[in-house]
Amino acid sequence: MQTDLLQEARRQAEICNACRYCEGYCSVFPALHAERAFSDGDLTQLANLCHNCRGCYYACQYTAPHEFNLNLPQALANVRQDSWEDLAFPRAAGKAFQKSGVMIALAAVIGFALLFWAVRALATQGGEGFYAVLSHNAMVAIFLPAFLFPLFSIAISLRRYWRQVGAQRLKAVHLVRAFGQAANMRNLKGGHGDGCNFEDEDRFSQGRRMAHQAVMYGFLLCFASTSVATVMHYVLNMPAPYPLWSLPKLLGVSGGLLLVVGCVEMVRLKLRADTSLCAQGAFGGEIAFVGLLGFVGLSGLVLYGLGQTAAMPVLLALHLGSVLALFLLTPFTKMAHGFYRLAALAADSQRQ
């Protein structure tokens, strides 16, 4: 990891530890105040606990132009971003994609191209609906590895993370606490429940928390839709297409809507927020990632709406291409933050 970023975070953490005014904002400060000196692992853990709510920045009497020049949200974001690049497996992919919107866009385009090629090369006769364009077996052949590889990669990264921050043996209770905090985004509530500072300097709002939860739950609903459909296909012998009032459609349509709305709002907020409080150079990668996620949701909805028209094969290739890119890039884009965040929250719950 980059020693200059760690050193700057250490300098700032030591000032924070002598002050302690921000103790009530989030999980970072009680964890920070429990230490006297900060190892690289400690700083990595604090960085991944930080949700960039910015409460501490706007409340800080030592931000520039003060000579202490504190900007803890950015110092921790830099370490966090660096840790994601460094812990990624393979590492080169983390370095290539985390900050680069161009590379993410390129990956999406390659995903589209691959699916267009698959549609042409693996065209089937006799299938129904989407399967008339690309057979179920071909889809599985493409998406099963694209799903398993990221899981494998993330597992290796989380193991590295766990060792680096010096966490103890994981127990169920730690995971329960971590999921509980993620479920309502406790760390974007600001301690007082008024929300975080993001789009309008020191004004507290629930905007970012709501946008984040729309994206998160939207994605989870879409994922649940696919999972339910898989079970229906293989276990219940009920192949697609499914009617609107079926579980896969209900989950998928509501999830897709939430995902699109959440991503649009998230981009809008990010464009208004002060970028000097984010990780340096990560803005393009973040916007591209949110864009890709939103495109997955939008293309899925459009595909559903126009599934009976001549545009369907093109839409299918676009949707599946974006899903492919999203899955494959999961360990190397902002998508990975959810896993690191959960790990950080679980490790933090060991302190209590």
Partner: protein, 464 residues
């Protein structure tokens, strides 16, 4: 000028807690309010930026506060620190009103948090602001702007024109241009004069040039001097300031809370000649924090050096800058620019005077004392023997000055024994009316909130 080019009803001079409480109260009473804040926006809020809590009377659990804290207990705590130099009537007014202030603060955007780690002794008496004083200041500016209060930053008020018993106009400079406003009422809440080093040196003596100022560089006392020159009633010892001993590497201004050092009880403190000069273990640190500012101020070059060894390093709150570290006392003396032989002798003499240390207890008066040593160390006296050795330099850090405007229970200023019809004062600039010497944690914010609200109410009533 105000938006329509008209004169405001109320001008509030200053931009900290007291000023904001006055402005909000006046605006809620229907007045058009203009705040003239000397600092640029990032430094707005005066010394309130650096505060962290509000001392509050309460009959039962209230907000973040546990148990109860009665008027009599509060007053007794105040009289203890001020040695009786307290205006009891105004002190009781501040104390009694504090209880109603806390919900008012919450209604106007202030958020509290449980007592900070390392400050559990204050959990019953002091309500801590979430994020500290700048969080409070930010919330009040949001509230004030919502109420239509106009704020002009970098507005340096130079003169208030007194005509018999009323202020006729207020002059201020902004961007090199002089502006004049003619409000109906004026509230002065622009703090003391501690950031004017020349004034401080005239008042205290030349040693004051070596003092550090813990708070804002914008409290230069310009308005205070202007009003006192027009014979407006003053209060408080003009030569005195509240000062504590802080990390000698702190910035000249605005170092704030982080520059405090809590290691003195576990140390020996020497001057630049490597000689001890006071009992480091006289009492628990919070009770002795303040006297060390004066003790260091009385030493040559106004500097002291704290010497500890490895066994004491983790007994106190972490410092903002890491301590100077050395494997031998000689090396430490070199790094601190102290005479090495003299330091070795002082430490050896001290070590020889230490006795049985088995009763050592870092958080209680443990009676582990030196024998036959002058000055003695009466608690926590353990020999300094275990390398590495650590050192900090200490300097005098000024918190606030006592000289101020004398006000009555309506926060109204006076000339002779006649009240000035349209001039009120709140916060640090009139705190000397209550606090003759010493300081009680969180009481400055109580005075600012209580008298800010009174001043705002009276100023708006006069304007209407």
């Amino acid at each position: 000028m105000t938006p329509a080019g008209t004169n405001p009803d109320v001008v509030v001079i200053g931009g900290g807690n007291a000023a904001l409480c006055a402005a909000i109260t006046a605006a809620e009473a229907g007045a058009r309010v203009l705040i003239l804040e000397a600092a640029p926006k990032p430094y707005r809020g005066g010394n309130s930026r650096h505060t962290r809590n509000f001392r509050c009377m309460h009959q039962g659990p209230l907000g973040p506060l546990v148990d109860s804290y009665t008027e009599e207990e509060y007053l007794a705590d105040l009289l203890k620190v001020t040695g009786g130099k307290t205006h009891e009537g105004l002190a009781r007014l501040a104390i009694r009103t504090s209880e109603a202030c806390l919900p008012w603060m919450e209604e106007h955007g202030v958020r509290f948090q449980p007592s900070l780690s390392g400050t559990l002794s204050l959990a019953r008496t002091n309500a801590f602001f979430l994020g500290g004083g700048k969080g409070l200041v930010n919330a009040y500016y949001r509230t004030a702007e919502r109420l239509g209060v106009e704020v002009v930053y970098e507005a340096l008020v130079t003169h208030l024109e007194l005509d018999e018993d009323r202020i006729n106009y207020v002059d201020y400079i902004r961007d090199g241009q002089t502006h004049r406003v003619t409000p109906k009422s004026v509230v002065v809440a622009s703090g003391g004069f501690q950031a004017d080093t020349d004034w401080l040196a005239r008042a205290w003596g030349p040693a004051a040039r070596n003092f550090l100022i813990r708070g804002t560089p914008y409290n230069r006392g310009v308005v205070l001097a202007d009003l006192l020159a027009q014979d407006i009633a003053q209060v408080g010892d003009p030569t005195q300031c509240h000062a504590v001993a802080i990390d000698g590497r702190a910035p000249k201004f605005d170092g704030g809370i982080v520059t405090r050092l809590d290691c003195v009880p576990f140390s020996i403190v020497v001057n630049k000649d490597a000689e001890r000069f006071y009992d480091e273990g006289e009492d628990v640190w919070p009770k002795r924090y303040a006297i060390w500012g004066r003790l260091v101020a009385a030493q040559p070059d106004q500097v002291g050096y704290v010497i500890i060894d490895a066994k004491s390093l983790n007994l106190f709150m972490p410092s903002v800058f890491p301590p100077i570290k050395a494997d031998t006392l000689e090396e430490l003396a070199g790094k601190l620019d102290l005479p090495a032989e003299a330091l070795a002798e002082t430490v050896a003499t001290f070590n020889a005077a230490c006795g049985d240390t088995s009763g050592f207890h870092p958080t209680e008066l443990d009676g582990v004392a030196t024998t036959g040593l002058t000055p003695p160390k009466t608690n926590w006296a353990r020999p300094i023997t275990e390398p590495p050795f650590y050192g900090y330099s200490l300097r005098t850090g000024v918190t606030f000055t006592y000289l101020g405007l004398k006000v009555d229970e309506n926060a109204q200023c006076a000339i002779g024994d006649r009240p000035i019809r349209n001039l009120w004062a709140a916060g640090e600039t009139m705190a000397g009316s209550i606090l003759g010497q010493g300081y009680l944690a969180g009481f400055g914010m109580t005075i600012g909130t209580v008298f800010g609200r009174i001043a705002g109410k009276e100023a708006a009533a006069h304007a209407n």
